[in-house]
């Protein structure tokens, strides 16, 4: 009885001490509030357009026929592309490209119409930069759609090139339509795809920064909650958990804003219920705060952990499996996926929020995060540290 009372007391002392330290530290507050509020808003605004539209295209029309003008107007009418310039020849078009005024060249050769008149296939050329894959896909998609529509129109006039029996068979013969459907993101929005993952990265990055900074700082300054008393292994576990509880409380509250409210305001996918989010965020925040404590204890001054955290936050998206299939990552990097709480958290959040999966569907991710909680709790407790 007395023992559990002691543990409870130790827990609450360590909890409030940590809360006080965070609340009175300007740098911690900048990271937490700046990260969760300012960053959350900023990234939404950055990706607000959601969809890449009006990819700028420069045209070289050597054909000057009804057909070439029809193709150009169809491309221009597409929501994904816009004809921004007309060039006299390919070298002029190239210079438009190198000035950055267009991303692709649509080159229509002089014999375009003539070839069709002769009953031959007529080729035109697309040259597109590949600096941004989204642009490339938009351009090629827009031009190909225009081309397919024109093909359908022209086909009726081309029957004469076929021998009579085939022409009769194919007259009015409808071709099979191939219809693609985007699952879980019907508008094909870029923000819908990336921003949920960015939210998780923001939480992970700023939380690890704050926790490890305060953990390392404590070592530097020798501030401890229970002055003068030696604390056993059980006590260390209690203190470590109490400090994690502090951060989980703060981040739990701010997560309501970041992943509960912002997705509604900015019309991002938000299919998860509050309880599903809680069940997913709890192990994520706990594992992250314990990871931060363990990581911070490797350093002797407060700011040192920050040096080694930030640069990698960019890489974390790649090992999460949302931008590149997890199965296709080389083996070594697949293992790294399971080391950081952020990677399973991104998958779990996207599955719950964007795909409308249930908690049962994300059991593998939840299990990984709970294993990480145990692993990092042990590490955070064992790494030599001033617990007195």
């Amino acid at each position: 009885m007395k023992k559990s009372n002691n543990a409870l007391r130790l827990f609450s002392i360590a909890f409030y001490k940590e809360l006080w330290d965070v609340a009175t530290s300007l740098s911690s507050m900048i990271l937490i509030v700046g990260g969760m509020v300012a960053y959350g808003l900023l990234y939404n605004l950055l990706y607000q357009p959601n969809i890449v539209r009006e990819d700028p295209i420069v045209v070289v029309d050597n054909s000057h026929t009804h057909l070439s003008r029809h193709l150009i107007s169809l491309v221009d009418a597409s929501p994904n592309a816009e004809i921004v310039a007309v060039a006299a020849d390919i070298s002029e078009a190239r210079s438009v490209l190198s000035r950055g005024e267009a991303e692709a060249i649509l080159y229509l050769p002089h014999d375009m119409d003539k070839r069709i008149g002769r009953g031959e296939q007529s080729l035109f050329v697309i040259l597109s930069t590949t600096a941004t894959f989204l642009y490339y896909e938009a351009t090629v998609g827009a031009i190909e759609d225009a081309m397919l529509a024109l093909d359908e129109d022209i086909r009726g006039d081309m029957l004469w090139i076929l021998p009579a029996p085939l022409a009769v068979a194919l007259d009015g013969h409808a071709t099979t339509e191939v219809v693609g459907n985007a699952l879980f993101n019907p508008t094909k929005g870029y923000a819908d795809y990336l921003v949920p993952a960015v939210f998780m990265v923001i939480i992970f990055q700023t939380m690890v920064m704050v926790v490890s900074m305060n953990s390392a700082g404590r070592k530097a300054k020798r501030i401890t909650p229970m002055r003068g008393r030696t604390i056993g292994f059980g006590g260390r576990v209690v203190i470590t958990l109490a400090r994690s509880a502090t951060y989980c409380t703060i981040y739990g509250a701010l997560s309501l804003f970041l992943i509960g409210w912002l997705p509604r305001i900015f019309h991002l996918p938000h299919l998860a219920s509050v309880w599903e989010l809680v069940a997913m965020m709890f192990p994520f925040l706990l594992a992250t705060s314990l990871f931060g404590q363990a990581f911070g204890r490797l350093f002797n001054d407060r700011e040192a952990p920050l040096v080694l955290i930030t640069f990698f936050s960019v890489g974390l998206i790649f090992i999460s499996g949302i931008s590149y299939p997890l199965q296709l990552l080389p083996m070594g990097w697949q293992a790294v996926h399971y080391l950081f709480p952020i990677a399973p958290a991104i998958l779990a959040f996207v599955e719950l929020g964007s795909m409308g999966s249930s908690l049962a569907d994300i059991t593998p991710q939840l299990s990984v995060m709970w294993l990480q909680v145990e692993g990092y709790l042990i590490l955070a407790t064992l790494i030599p540290h001033d617990f007195r």
Binding site: S128, A131, V178, E303, L306, T310, S323, P325
Partner: protein, 389 residues
């Protein structure tokens, strides 16, 4: 030894005692280069697992399946008896897309009645889904024409002739700069430099802030000249980062065993741009620190500025599609100018007019710290900012 070299020598002494600084200046850049070179395998997204629901089950539908499976990009790993089963498999990422061949497909194709082949792709994972989409669109369009081509061939019509009828207009697509649309070529180099500028920004602020109680001695070594003190202190880091940058370029483009990236521009052009990025990033960090010389707070600030580089370099989502305000905000970041220079070289055989403008801006970052040097000098003497936690 002149005053300047005394400060440099003092800094070299500090570095030699601090493993963290070795890791930051050499370890992190090399790790980042290795990470970005190896994370995508060979960079051609290959064998993405997809599924098929074949309700038709005829020779024609089997031909369609065979055509799809012939592509190196996707791989039919599963067959399902219903769409709902296939959808469940997409949900748990067993597959990233599937094709449904309806039961009346064959009859409709033969009779020439309009029919559709629906296909589905995972778009919550956009980059993978887009790959599946474009591959399936091309393959299925091709496969759906096959029965007509076969009939035509039987009647003695050449393939050329029937294609002229089916696709009178056809396009010849040339992706510039990255002909095979390789993922690694697209992302590895730009994202290495995004990580690189973050570590430069942070390390610079960290070493400036680490002086703390020694800052008076540091100034004294420089004969109280703030310019000598700063130049001497930061020179070893600029040198280390440039050396690491060259080593990283070697990792990315030079090591045969790692299947080097395709390099379309000149390597010297890249080295020169990298030099500009290093110097500009150090200057930006110094400028920010001089405005408010408190290490922890400025570290938080530059880590956020640095991370924004991933978005505002414009590599994944075009800046032109963002709100006009961000067109200008992006220009605050050295990484944006660096990216424009490099992309201009790599993808459009750049016009020097554009490149020189951004190169000049990168160079001009050096001037920024001059504006705030005296403020930094005063604050070091007063120590006012250090007290804020």
């Amino acid at each position: 030894m002149s005053v300047f070299w005394r400060v440099v020598w003092r800094e070299v002494g500090i570095i030699s005692h601090r493993p963290l600084l070795w890791i930051a200046t050499i370890g992190v850049p090399l790790f980042s280069a290795l990470f970005m070179t190896t994370i995508f395998g060979n960079g051609a997204i290959q064998e993405i697992p997809i599924g098929v629901v074949d309700d038709s089950f005829t020779a024609i539908s089997r031909d369609i399946v065979r055509t799809i499976d012939s592509s190196p990009t996707i791989n039919i790993t599963h067959r399902y008896t219903s769409s709902s089963e296939a959808l469940a498999a997409v949900r748990n990422r067993e597959i990233y897309g599937y094709v449904v061949l309806p039961h009346d497909l064959t009859r409709n194709m033969v009779c020439g009645t309009r029919s559709t082949i629906p296909y589905y792709y995972h778009y919550a994972f956009m980059s993978i889904g887009a790959q599946v989409e474009s591959t399936l669109r091309t393959l299925l369009t091709m496969a759906s024409l096959d029965p007509i081509i076969v009939t035509a061939n039987e009647m003695g019509v050449s393939e050329r002739q029937i294609m002229a009828f089916l696709e009178p207009l056809n396009s010849d697509i040339h992706p510039l700069g990255n002909a095979s649309l390789n993922y690694r070529t697209y992302l590895a180099e730009p994202f290495f430099f995004i990580m690189f500028q973050i570590i430069i920004l942070i390390t610079t602020v960290y070493v400036l802030g680490s002086e703390k109680s020694h800052s008076k001695e540091w100034l004294a070594t420089a004969n109280s000249n703030i310019f000598t003190a700063l130049a001497g202190k930061l020179l070893p880091y600029a040198f280390a980062f440039i050396a690491s940058g060259i080593a990283a370029l070697y990792v990315m483009y030079g090591i045969k065993g790692l299947a080097p990236l395709e390099l379309y521009g000149s390597l010297w052009g890249l080295v020169a741009a990298m030099l500009g990025l290093v110097v500009a990033s150090i200057s930006l960090a110094l400028f920010t620190y001089s405005l408010f010389p408190n290490m922890t707070i400025v570290l938080s600030a530059v880590s956020m500025i640095g991370s924004l580089g991933a978005t505002l370099s414009g590599i994944t989502f075009p800046i032109a599609s963002m709100h006009p305000i961000f067109h200008y905000v992006a220009l605050i970041l050295p990484i944006r100018h660096f990216t424009l220079i490099v992309q201009n070289q790599l993808y459009t055989e750049g016009s020097y007019g554009v490149v020189w403008l951004h190169a000049a801006i990168l160079g001009a970052y050096c001037l920024l710290p001059l504006l705030t040097a005296s403020h930094l000098h005063k604050s070091i003497i007063s120590g006012n900012y250090e007290k804020i936690e």
